[in-house]
């Protein structure tokens, strides 16, 4: 038990941090709430420190299931938690100066960010249907509130409402899927579900369960045709919250989906259903990346454009998920999950950077950031322009930015999965990335090649500058010297494989 409690230290820290910030906000009478943001940032840094401590601790039984097998916090999960904590840290940093400018000086903002990150961490560590659901709800409820955080803005209200209704719908689907899976097997732990299904012909319940789960994760990941909420919610929600959605929710949802489709529903459990599932996922991947990119082309609003780019990236990520699903049970799966994590990390960095710049442009309650607002940014805020340029190049996957290695490693693993269709999917994905270059470059055209059209009020502050500087540094650092990051995922991959194979054993 002590081992279990020690292992979840990062989650405990974040949970306590949220409560602490909430209490402090109520108890202290100060009207300027920036200090709460600073405390939250320090708390996230502390939690990151605890991840670092746990990483080196060999005395703890890191890879074994904890709390009676409802979650696991091995190296891989620690790494995923570190990414999520980093996202929380950056979202907090960019909120500190942005919130007062937007007239939202409410301390709950930081508490909710903490709870959302806690939910994400639960989500990536879950190995049981119930803990998965718990994590998803903790995360989603916090984000529903955050999306509508600017109460006076009609956009935010719309975003919050839309996200809530469709999110709840997605959650409902997930619950149905879990219920059918439970009905078919009588089990809730992922490994038990797989074991119960293995070698049997899938019944109607199983088929329904798989269908529901695919659709539920489709909502969370914004796969076409479940993406409809994405642009409106991205546009309406406050910029730091959108950053949390784009970076955090995506990371958590992809890892969780990966775990479900690798440990609960591996090909061995699906039997004759497998080719159909594979086909469905392949079609979803192709239409998601193609439609996402095509719809991003005409966007002039930066947030909407990033929303469609998020859709397109969900398509690339789905290829990785398919590869993970395809090699489930083989030692290779750890590498594929590691590649997904690397991709999610660099994708999160780029999105955080882009939304940090959107926050930067959000002076005096300004909401709508169109491409015209970006014109001439390079002259007025060189750092912001450079960060935005790096973020766009990274999203496009151009070296020497981090995004290149994300694409390289993800597509490498997909090709390595050694199935006839993967080369075609990868070729379609890289061709799609050429299409995406067009709209990413248009951002550069405006920031660097055009002169300012209208005055834009910039948010100025040390925390935001710090966030921008750190993001620029990380994007280039990962792009130029990625060995440390790959080393970490490789270390994480080795135990992850053993974990999969032992849990499959009786």
């Amino acid at each position: 038990m002590l081992n279990d409690l020690l292992t979840v230290l990062p989650l405990t820290i974040v949970a306590l941090l949220g409560c602490f910030v909430l209490l402090l906000d109520v108890l202290s009478g100060q009207t300027d709430r920036r200090y709460l943001g600073r405390i939250t940032a320090a708390g996230f840094a502390l939690a990151l420190g605890s991840v670092y401590l746990l990483w080196g601790k060999t005395s703890l039984q890191l890879e074994s299931p904890i709390f009676g097998g409802i979650m696991v916090l091995g190296r891989f999960e620690l790494l995923a938690c570190a990414v999520l904590l980093l996202i929380g840290l950056f979202v907090t940093l960019m909120s500190i100066d942005w919130a007062p400018e937007q007239g939202v000086s409410i301390g709950e903002l930081y508490a909710l960010v903490c709870f959302a990150v806690l939910g994400m961490m639960l989500l990536v560590t879950a190995t049981h249907m119930i803990s998965l659901f718990l994590g998803l709800e903790v995360m989603s409820v916090a984000i529903y509130v955050l999306a509508a955080f600017k109460r006076n803005s009609p956009y935010a209200a719309e975003a919050g409402m839309k996200y809530f209704v469709l999110g709840a719908f997605g959650t409902g689907l997930l619950l149905y899927g879990m219920a059918y899976a439970y009905g078919a097997t009588g089990k809730l732990a992922f490994a038990d579900v797989a074991q119960a299904l293995a070698g049997k012909e899938p019944t109607g319940y199983v088929k329904l369960a798989v269908l529901m789960l695919v659709a539920a994760f489709g909502f969370k990941l914004a796969l076409v045709p479940f993406h409809m909420w994405t642009p409106d919610v991205y546009e309406g929600a406050p910029a730091p919250v959108t950053a949390l959605m784009a970076a955090g929710v995506k990371t958590a949802a992809v890892i969780a989906a990966g775990r479900v489709f690798v440990t609960a529903l591996p090909p061995s459990a699906l039997g004759s259903l497998e080719p159909t599932v594979f086909k469905i996922l392949g079609v979803l991947a192709v239409i998601t990346m193609t439609a996402g990119n095509l719809m991003a082309l005409p966007q002039r609003n930066l947030k909407r454009m990033l929303a469609y780019s998020a859709v397109a990236h969900a398509g690339y990520l789905l290829i990785g998920l398919m590869a993970a699903h395809h090699v489930a049970g083989q030692p290779q799966v750890g590498d594929v999950m590691g590649a997904l994590l690397v991709y999610l990390f660099v994708y999160a960095l780029a999105n955080l950077a882009a939304f940090a710049v959107v926050s930067l442009l959000g002076g005096q309650s300004q909401e709508d950031v169109s491409l015209d607002h970006l014109s001439g940014l390079s002259g007025r805020h060189p750092l912001g322009a450079a960060v935005l340029a790096l973020a766009m190049l990274s999203l496009a996957g151009v070296p020497p930015t981090a995004g290149f290695f994300g694409k390289l490693t993800l597509f490498k693993e997909a090709l390595r999965a050694d199935e006839g269709k993967f080369p075609w999917l990868v070729v379609l994905a890289v061709l799609n990335s050429v299409v995406s270059v067009f709209y990413y470059l248009r951002v550069l055209v405006h920031t660097y090649f055009r002169d300012a059209l209208r005055p834009v009020l910039l948010v100025r502050g040390t925390a935001l500058t710090l966030a921008l500087g750190l993001l620029a540094f990380l994007t280039l650092q990962v792009g130029l010297f990625p060995s440390r990051w790959f080393e970490a995922t490789a270390q994480a991959a080795r135990p992850a494989t053993t974990q999969v194979s032992t849990s499959a054993a009786p």
Binding site: V398, P400, K412, P423, V430, L431, V434, R442, V445, F449
Partner: protein, 543 residues
Amino acid sequence: MSASPFAETMASFPLLSLVTFLPVAGALLLLLVPGTNERAIRGTGLFISLVAFIASVFVWRRFADVTGFQLVERHAWIPSLGIGYTLGIDGISFLLVMLTTFITPIALLSSTHAIEHRVKEFTISVLLLETAMLGALVSLDLVLFYVFWEAMLIPMYLLIGVWGGKERIYATTKFFLYTMLGSVLMLVGVLYLYLRTNPASAAFADVLEIPLTRTEQLWLFAAFGLAFAIKVPLFPFHTWLPDAHTEAPTAGSVILAGVLLKMGTYGFLRFAFPLFPEAVGVYSVPMMALAVIGIIYGAMTAYAQTDVKKLVAYSSVSHMGYIVLGMFALTKAGIEGAMLQMLNHGISTGALFLCVGVLYERRHTREISEYGGLAKVVPVFATIFMIVTFSSIGLPGTNGFVGEFLILTGTFEEALSSHLDATLAWKDFLLSWRVVTTVFATIATLGVVLGAVYMLSMFRRVMFGEIKNPKNLTLKDLSPRELLYLVPMVVLIFLIGFFPNVLLNKMHRSVDAFVDHYRPAIVKARSPETVAAREGARAVEAR
């Protein structure tokens, strides 16, 4: 097959890293200089690029007469993936490295008046571009090469986009998208090769060991070849080039023509030929056909231009066609000619763009009809322009002649000889390799005449005749600064023209080994009927 032409000699001192990363160090240094002090920025930029040139002179001195890669440096970069930081040069890349370090200071020097705003960013972009180009030339690891290859795009994109002409945004976006389209498919090819190695490695030496089937080679060559063909640019992938050249600032055009285009032909020689010899054989005829079409099409389109810069841009399409033709002939003369012509084109076309820049700075127009009779007003400039024009045409005594002559000789070597193969039927005979090459070589030779037509007619319309436009009467002749960057080009034009062996000697070893090693496989793939016939004849003789 003979021994591999890619042995490796390690370096005792990381000279190549030094040359490659000096410009980046300079760019970082420039970040510290305040943006308002333009003189200091230009001075620092020029100084750093000159230091890089001097460092590359040491490479010249150290370059030994051995087969294979030398000055090799090998370090771990991403050890867990088997991707290394491996650098090295041989006779194929060495002279292009020299060309890069030679062109960059000239490009910087030429932009003193042309670039007046955001000087700091401009200088940093040029220096970063230099590092990316050098890196692509010296890297011996496929992923490292790809990183440098793609990294070239960003500074060039900015050079055209920020400091370009009126249509710069269209041109630079087109440039980026075209190049990217080719590159991403190459990335898939690189990944495919990488996954075939065991243990996983992206090192060129390890990738060479992979036994590839004919089908694999055909697909992979298509992936790599598209990336290189777009960069060259080979007809019909050339349409980004005139736009990019016309809109780019002079320095951008000089670097683009001087070095960037060579990346395509270099890529063919370095990667496509050794990795996929069979596919090279199969694709030889279509590739050479595209090259020849490019020669003629480029020349005819150049003739129709009214804009001097566009004319020079289309002449590039034509000239690059010769280089591709020489390479795919795959004779020693053809490849050496192609390699020499890469340098020549860098020098001559670079110098042509500089001359156009000189005109543009004075009159702010590039329309040929705006000029006329300049020879009387600016005699020194006219002389230099004339020499450069002759070099571009390939007049004997200039560098262009040697290159074109070698390429055509090399191609004709492959052409119809006196030993006609009487065993072939008429139809097979007409489609046989030798007949096809004869046709190609003949058309290419006629292209030389076309080259003279458009260049000389442009020169006549700009320099000779009556001065119709009174604005031209007051033009100033070349300033000392302009002489400073044009004279080295002219000197090189004559030096290479009279003493080509200085450069050719540096290539011999590499090219000989290369051709000896890969020619048999390529020849077998491209003209199976001749080989079969010859073997049949030999069998008859033996009996």
